[in-house]
């Protein structure tokens, strides 16, 4: 009986000891732009949260999903390293790219590699997926979002012979014959 209690106590101690000081990283990937257009800058934000109770060491973030043929790197790096991420903290990394093609683009996950606890093997994790996003061509973007002030101004000028002129002619005639009747 005593022997059983001792074995039970030791097994619990081992379980507790094995769960101590282990990091757990969660990686999110977000697009900061509300509208994505070919030829205009696109900002992608990576947030890494350490929700474990241990320090994450040798952290390496890599995103190989943005190919050179589809995106031009403007600012930031697609592969970043951090020495340590303390438990309960987060780090943020932003990359600015420029889409070279329009159309539907599938933004898949980035990968993070880190060491969760001392003398343990490196762990791998994947970020959240953004999914399929429509990249507008410059022509389509101008069609939908440009103010077109000059175009509307010219349209207003074109409508003068169709609207203003007939109404002025009518109004002049109306005024002439209304005044005459009032005078008499």
């Amino acid at each position: 009986m005593k022997y059983c209690v001792l074995v039970l106590f030791l097994s619990c101690f081992c379980v507790v000891a094995s769960e101590e000081s282990s990091a757990k990283l969660i990686l999110t990937k977000n697009i900061l732009n509300s509208i994505i257009t070919q030829g205009n800058d696109l900002a992608i934000e990576y947030n890494m949260y350490n929700i474990g109770d241990g320090v994450a060491t040798d952290v390496e973030l890599a995103d190989s999903t943005l190919h050179d043929t589809d995106f031009e790197l403007i600012s930031g790096k697609m592969s970043v390293k951090w020495d340590r991420i303390q438990p309960g903290t987060n780090v943020t990394h932003v990359v600015v790219v420029r889409p070279l093609k329009s159309g539907a683009q599938n933004f898949t996950s980035a990968v993070v590699q880190y060491v969760a606890s001392e003398d343990s093997e490196p762990k791998f994790g994947f970020s959240s997926e953004i999914g399929e996003v429509e990249i507008l061509s410059l022509k389509e973007y101008n069609r939908l979002y440009a103010p077109h002030v000059v175009e509307w101004g010219m349209f207003g000028i074109w409508t003068i012979p169709s609207l203003l002129l007939p109404y002025m002619l009518y109004y002049n005639s109306k005024t002439k014959y209304t005044v005459k009747s009032k005078k008499n």
Binding site: R143, W158, P166, Y167, S173, V179, S181
Partner: protein, 185 residues
């Protein structure tokens, strides 16, 4: 049923010309020119804002402009007919005053009352004809352009340019023509 007689007296023909729906040659030309012009104005918007190339869509634009011009001209004709009678009633006093002012006292004594009334009626009809044409053009063009802008840039904004053009032009011109057939104004 007896066949209709097509032989009207000169007076009857004048009455038909003055009070009927048919337009004179001059009026028809004016209306069709206005209709073509107002139907062509949206091409500017579709070319510059919706980025539709003129040469690539030439056939569509020509057909759309002619279709729209037909219905807009029809609306001009209907609206002018409705407006002419109302305007003529309102201008009676003004026209009478104008003619009385132009005639000297001696002239006024020479011509009979019937002759004077005929002159007033003729002048009133001339004024009403011109004013009703101008007001019909203004009213119809305003309605057409407002409907076109609302449909193209609000209701169907997310549609691709070609369906947007077709729906907007056909819709705006058809509704303008349809509303002109209403007799309540």
């Amino acid at each position: 049923m007896a066949p209709k007689s097509s032989n009207f007296s000169k007076e009857e023909e004048l009455l038909l010309q003055d009070f009927g729906r048919d337009l004179s040659r001059k009026s028809s030309v004016i209306f069709y020119v206005h209709a073509l012009f107002v139907s062509a104005i949206p091409l500017w918007l579709f070319n510059r804002i919706h980025q539709m190339e003129m040469l690539d869509n030439a056939i569509l634009f020509v057909i759309g402009t002619i279709f729209s011009a037909y219905f807009v001209a029809l609306a001009y004709k209907n609206n002018k007919f409705e407006l002419k009678h109302k305007i003529a009633q309102k201008r009676s006093d003004g026209v009478a005053a104008e003619l009385n002012a132009k005639m000297s006292e001696s002239e006024s004594k020479k011509i009979s009352k019937k002759e004077k009334d005929e002159r007033i009626l003729w002048r009133k009809n001339e004024i009403a004809e011109a004013e009703s044409m101008q007001l019909a053009v203004f009213y119809t063009n305003s309605l057409f352009l407002i409907l076109l802008i609302l449909s193209s840039f609000f209701f169907f904004k997310s549609y691709s340019p070609m369906p947007n053009y077709i729906i907007s032009m056909v819709g705006a011109s058809s509704i303008t023509g349809l509303l002109s057939t209403s007799s309540q104004k």
